[in-house]
């Protein structure tokens, strides 16, 4: 059983960070733990949610949006990030544009033994692609999202946010 922490990351905090950083589109595949976040995003008049069929699409759709002058983020789970390897290479890293990718850190557990292999491989995957990342677990960490946006802008590279709170914060 996964041990839960006392403080949580609220979907409102994530959406507020998107607004603060001028995000126009969220290109996403929802997962079972983020349905309230999905609903909240759809309620925002300033935000266009772009549902994709497979995670690799999200980085390419984001590139097209960026070329068109928009500010997208990719919001997917770590499992889908691994499926997206060549898209991350060809559409994000090689294009030389800033991009924040928000990754649900399935299997992450600060307090117990990590038994889900996707959690074991998530950070090594990002390191292999030389993508810097920030762990966000609770509202007090949410300022790191702005740090990621600033870093992406300055380096013209993708920067990842690992959402280490998938298991209780994003559902009602």
């Amino acid at each position: 059983m996964v041990e839960q922490q006392a403080a949580v990351l609220s979907p409102e905090a994530l959406v507020e960070e998107f607004k603060k950083n001028g995000v126009t589109h969220v290109v996403t595949i929802p997962d079972s733990e983020t349905n309230y976040l999905y609903e909240l995003m759809q309620e925002q008049p300033w935000l266009d949610v772009v549902p994709a069929s497979r995670e690799g699409e999200t980085f390419a759709i984001a590139l097209g949006l960026i070329i068109g002058g928009q500010t997208p983020v990719c919001l997917i789970q770590n499992t889908g990030m691994m499926e997206s390897g060549d898209s991350i290479r060809g559409m994000a890293l090689d294009s030389g544009f800033p991009l924040v990718m928000v990754i649900g850190y399935r299997g992450w557990n600060r307090h117990g033994v990590i038994t889900d292999s996707v959690a074991r491989y998530t950070e090594p995957f990002l390191n292999a692609f030389r993508i810097n990342y920030y762990l966000v677990e609770q509202d007090a960490d949410s300022h790191r999202i702005s740090v990621a946006f600033e870093e992406a802008k300055n380096t013209k590279r993708p920067v990842a946010i690992l959402v280490g709170d998938e298991y209780h914060g994003f559902n009602r």
């Binding site: 069929s53 699409e57 999200t58 390419a60 097209g64 949006l65 068109g68 290479r89 090689d94």
Partner: protein, 196 residues
Amino acid sequence: MIQSSDIFRVFQDHRGDAIVIPTGTSGRHWREFTQNETRDLNLGGAMGHTTSAALGLALGLPNEKVVLFDSEGALLMNLGILATIAGKKPSNFCHILLDNECYATTGGQPVPNAQEINYAGVAKEAGYTAAYSFDDLEDFATNIEQIMNESGPVFVAIKVVPEVENEPIGMRQRAPSRSRAETIRDLQGELGISVG
């Protein structure tokens, strides 16, 4: 089957101000006919995801017509994009598939179910506004003006003659072409877009 160069020759007369994204082996011929290179875009590739990037561009520039010349080998790698496109309903998007029934760039091996699949049927059932199939140049020439004026997303599947390459990649002759970064820079300059 139609020569892809003939497709582009006919299309150029109906292009208007559309942003054109040519891909694949057949797509190279566009350079011979384009009369507005500033609005030609090289989106690069990543296992079929040029289609996805073209969707992103159409969503990002809703007041610009976006025409993608796709290839069937690329589309098959990511067929779900048809549902993604249909779901967002970009009215400014025209998706033209040049179907040579093979992987021309790797020696001409057939794509799966090359002669049986109905790409226009798949697109239409996925939710595109309209979908057409052509294997005759005159039919294409007769219909392209109406297609370009139609509200999208519109899908057009065209059977084209394969132009198979067998030389090792490093030995192939390439006509001068602008890089992806150059085409993006030129298009953004034309549209007055700056990316922070």
